[in-house]
Symmetry: C2
Subunit: 435 residues, 2 copies
């Protein structure tokens, strides 16, 4: 877990603002849920591995000594959403489109772009089985990534019912589907030969038949033929065809790629599954899919749902490594430092600061009357581009002396003109370039 | 703990944006710390009562069955700040001015405006003993409250060294100071007679002598006389006089009031203490003070610090009850619903949505081709003010029909003029008024 110092927070804030603004343009509404959920809400939703990574909170009060736990930290944003929809159904519109940007916690081993506390940016549409939902979701996340400056991302897409149909058609019994998917997931890393070996090691005798379905140039036409008369798998192919048709008119179009080997770990997916990758990051920037059964686990009522989750930390890691942050993001943000003269009343400085703040400027006041040289040094160290000096002489003349910390230039500016002068973009830029 | 549905999030977001914007204008920089701290970081900082309210997290892995805990949920934002300053001192400017807006957790009984998970908006200045710091902090929180629309708040101020001096001068031994403060804290509720009774019940024999210091019209002049030659208490009065002098030129001036009975619960305060109240809320909207010893508990190095914490939940409770949110905050934020025709390709609707979104509008697409009447009904229920209809007829004529859901009026608008027409403020307002 990490502290975010001011520059980190500014970078995170920049990315979050882009995500929010884009999701709002798609008509998604904001939701926030508590960090702590009842333990029963979370258990049994993330598979066996996931269960082990849930942080549990000790029951408070007299029960503390027993080591009993009743609450747990949010593990993702999808399960809390399902609980909220089940709980507040009457207050929500029939098609509830929500985004949620909050931290989640997992008791995992940290790695590059993987932390025990990390932010997810989720976007979900509740209430419809239409593939318009999938197309809009892919378009929204593609827009987010493009707004952040990404060009080279791929949205891989697949379907759980198609996976089941392909494995069934390849003669793999349902009890071995999980094993087969783990092997197929390594196609990129170990190639078809490697997958074949792995399939055999995992108890799937006729690996060649599996590879016939999954290896090489696998198109929707090819898999439709392969799954034959299996109705769920045929429906899955139709779903995918529809998504490709619709996404073609959206910003997701050129990024979408069918990938028959994509499986996704979470156990609650029931239909389409999606994952976003970029060439220079192992693992994904985000993923999602359809989970038509999850809300029903809380309310009994079957309500369809589909969503996408972007991993903020990984996006920030790649943006940092590629230098994708606009220069203004790293600027300290303080426009001017107001100095305080030794032996004079600090109220004069506070009065000046008030005037400038009322004009919308960002003003820091040096807290202790001191030698000017020391205050200039502080401004440089704190990356504040300009310093305001208001001594008895300046007050008599009705001016303020502004020192530009980069050029060293000093100018006496009439007090009434000061806000406008400090807003000049040329001067503002200094702070950005200095960083 | 609570879920925040879209309207709640918008209201919270509005208040947070005002707080952030104001703090930035004072030169404060953003900081964020993890939700989980090591237990040792938090224990012993909040007094005995506070200790009991800390949520503890079960140690993960093989230790889980032992009930052992190693992490705890953030209890406030001040102790994590002190840890950060001790840990990252070299990376921070000499005067570190930071704001932090994050949730904290307390295993407390919920009440009006009091929750187990709640947001604090903290602003602190590290590194200076100057009373300019106190004056700037009071000014910043006064500006925040004024920007939010509050006019009737009071910032009560006192000083821990003055409290000690007054009690000492009134003949109360140090071991009874805590008891005396609990009694004096009830002055507003039970009056001087009630406090006298309470003082006696709490073992302070000469309650009249205590009341002489604390009851009636207590001014700084009066307490200066009362504490006599006690140097710390004299210094405290000088500090307070300075703050009043400086705050006079800031927005805090007319709100600041000296209150000799103000004590504040937290154990880490060493100097000035502040609290903000409004007439219609028992308890405070926020509070703060000077804690020159806290950072040294982590680093050994004595670094002065002073800060203010605003309680977001209480501010929101009062704003809600008083109807202080601008109407725009409650508007759903979606500009238009794009309908999908039965039997037609949804891609036409997605194409239109893309055009409008690129023009900066907030657009929801009805996910399922359906009867128009049903889609209109949905727009009304979801408080979307306008609906776009794009059928074969409209496409042939190069127009889009816009239905205003409030007036029922329909207009055919040339497609190229659509973004401008949908941005008209008169139309936008419909959504706001409908709420």
């Amino acid at each position: 877990m990490r502290d975010f110092l001011p520059q980190d927070v500014r970078r995170r804030g920049y990315a979050i603002a882009v995500v929010e603004d884009t999701y709002r343009r798609y008509g998604f509404q904001p939701l926030e849920t508590p960090a702590l959920e009842n333990i029963e809400t979370l258990t049994g939703k993330y598979g066996e591995e996931g269960n082990k990574l849930i942080f549990k909170v000790l029951r408070r009060g007299e029960h503390e000594s027993s080591g009993e736990t009743d609450l747990a930290l949010r593990y993702d944003l999808t399960v809390p959403l399902a609980r909220v929809v089940a709980e507040h159904r009457g207050k929500l519109p029939r098609f509830f489109k929500r985004y949620q940007i909050q931290p989640v916690w997992r008791a995992d081993r940290p790695a590059r772009g993987r932390f025990r506390e990390f932010y997810q940016c989720d976007v979900d549409a509740i209430g419809s089985r239409s593939m318009v939902v999938e197309a809009e979701l892919c378009s929204a996340v593609a827009d987010v990534l493009q707004q952040l400056g990404f060009r080279d991302f791929t949205i891989r897409i697949n379907h759980r019912q198609l996976l089941a149909g392909l494995l069934d058609a390849a003669g793999v019994g349902p009890e071995l589907h999980g094993q087969a998917l783990v092997a197929l997931d390594k196609m990129d890393k170990v190639g078809a030969d490697g997958v074949l070996r792995e399939l055999q090691e995992r108890g799937i005798a006729d690996g060649q038949r599996v590879l016939a379905a999954f290896a090489g140039d696998v198109t929707l036409e090819k898999v439709r033929e392969f799954v034959g008369g299996r109705p769920e798998a045929q429906g899955a192919v139709t779903d995918l065809e529809q998504i490709f048709g619709l996404a073609g008119v959206t910003s997701a179009g050129s990024h979408l790629r069918f990938d028959a080997t994509l499986a996704r770990g979470l156990s609650y997916y029931t239909g389409t599954i999606m994952e976003i990758t970029v060439p220079d990051l192992a693992g994904s920037l985000g993923g999602g899919g359809r989970y038509d059964g999850l809300i029903g686990m809380f309310s009994g009522e079957n309500i369809p749902a589909c969503g996408f989750s972007l991993g903020l930390e990984r996006i920030l890691v790649v943006m940092g490594e590629r230098g994708m942050f606009p220069p203004g993001v790293d600027a300290g943000g303080t426009d001017v430092l107001v100095t305080l003269f030794e032996g004079e009343d600090p109220a004069e400085g506070l009065r000046l600061a008030r005037e400038l703040r009322q004009a919308g400027l960002r003003v820091e006041v040096y807290p202790e009357p001191d030698k000017l040289g020391k205050q200039f040094k502080y401004a440089s160290a704190a990356a504040i581009a300009r310093v305001a000096v208001l001594g008895a002489d300046e007050r008599a003349r009705g001016v303020v002396t502004i020192k530009d910390m980069r050029s060293g230039e000093q100018r006496a500016i009439p007090r009434a003109e000061l806000p406008a002068a400090l807003r000049e973009p040329a001067l503002r830029q200094v702070a950005e370039e200095q960083q």
